[in-house]
């Protein structure tokens, strides 16, 4: 089976070809400018991907600097207390008028 050209380029760029394969491949690159451009493009794609993932990793580090958001229990307790108090006062006023009538 003939190996996919893109796979061959990938193996050449990541250095996993044998010495013989490499020599033949480099000879083909000299004769075929399209293949040479394919190798150039593959290197750019790998570098571009690398750049993207490096930026992402840096962003994760920056995010790890931020203080973790704490649940504002104090605020929640104050609001809940306020609601209970208001309901209590409301009920007391309601029954006061109800009894007076």
């Amino acid at each position: 089976m003939v190996e996919n050209r893109w796979n061959q380029i990938d193996r050449y760029v990541n250095g996993s070809m044998t010495e013989d394969e490499r020599t033949v491949f480099e000879q083909r690159m000299r004769e075929n400018l399209g293949l040479a451009e394919g190798v150039h493009m593959h290197r750019d794609i790998l570098s571009g991907m690398e750049l993207h993932f490096m930026r992402e990793m840096k962003q994760q580090l920056i995010l790890s600097d931020l203080p973790k958001k704490k649940i504002p229990w104090k605020t929640i307790a104050l609001i809940a207390g306020g609601i209970v108090l208001a309901a209590g006062i409301g009920a007391a006023v309601y029954y006061y008028f109800l009894n007076n009538q």
Binding site: I45, G48, M54, M57, Q60, L61
Partner: protein
């Protein structure tokens, strides 16, 4: 006396096996000392020192994944500071003096500022396109090319049937990306 740096070696092994929390641990552990040292030594503000340190930790990660820190001859902190020093030097475009062991490190390790990494428009274009490629391509390409996972490990992590399925999917992802780059790179933006 030869030191073994057992704890640092353990952290390196954990990072290599895909434990991302260990890298954040290293980052948090050495950040205060690096910032203090960099601000004092190079008269830079905290923001610039932090920026250089973040780049240094990312570079440290790349060196670990590429097997350049297999056996430590210094502590991880020494490596990290040497990388950080080189990054500050390049960012400031100023000469910085290195100790002899640090010089060996920066010559043999990747120690570049991230914003100076891509050298041409096509690489920058690929980096932008990567933000749009979506899953599963993003994860497969990241695990294989950036995190150094084997096809077998990727199959396990992403729950594929076997490594051959991953290989086929990876080739498909690369071909799609290549076509996108070809299409966009030939557009008027880059002529």
């Amino acid at each position: 006396m030869e030191q073994t740096y057992t704890e640092d070696q353990l952290l390196i092994q954990q990072i290599k096996s895909g434990d991302e929390a260990s890298l954040v641990e290293i980052y948090k552990q050495h950040r205060p000392a690096f910032l203090q040292w960099a601000q004092h030594s190079y008269q830079i503000d905290e923001e610039k020192a932090a920026d250089a340190f973040q780049d240094a930790v990312v570079c440290l990660y790349r060196n670990i994944v590429r097997g350049k820190l297999e056996s430590l001859t210094s502590s991880l902190k020494t490596y990290l500071f040497a990388i950080g020093k080189n990054i500050i030097r390049k960012k400031l475009q100023q000469p910085v003096t290195f100790e002899s062991d640090e010089l060996w490190m920066v010559e043999n390790l990747h120690a570049e500022p991230i914003d100076q990494f891509a050298t041409n428009d096509r690489q920058q274009l690929v980096a932008r396109l990567m933000e749009t490629i979506g899953e599963p391509c993003k994860s497969i390409l990241e695990l294989f090319y950036f995190r150094g996972f084997s096809m077998e490990a990727i199959a396990e992590r992403l729950q594929y049937k076997n490594e051959n399925v991953v290989k086929t999917q990876k080739l498909r992802c690369l071909t799609n990306l290549k076509n996108l780059v070809r299409e966009r790179y030939q557009s008027e933006d880059f002529i």
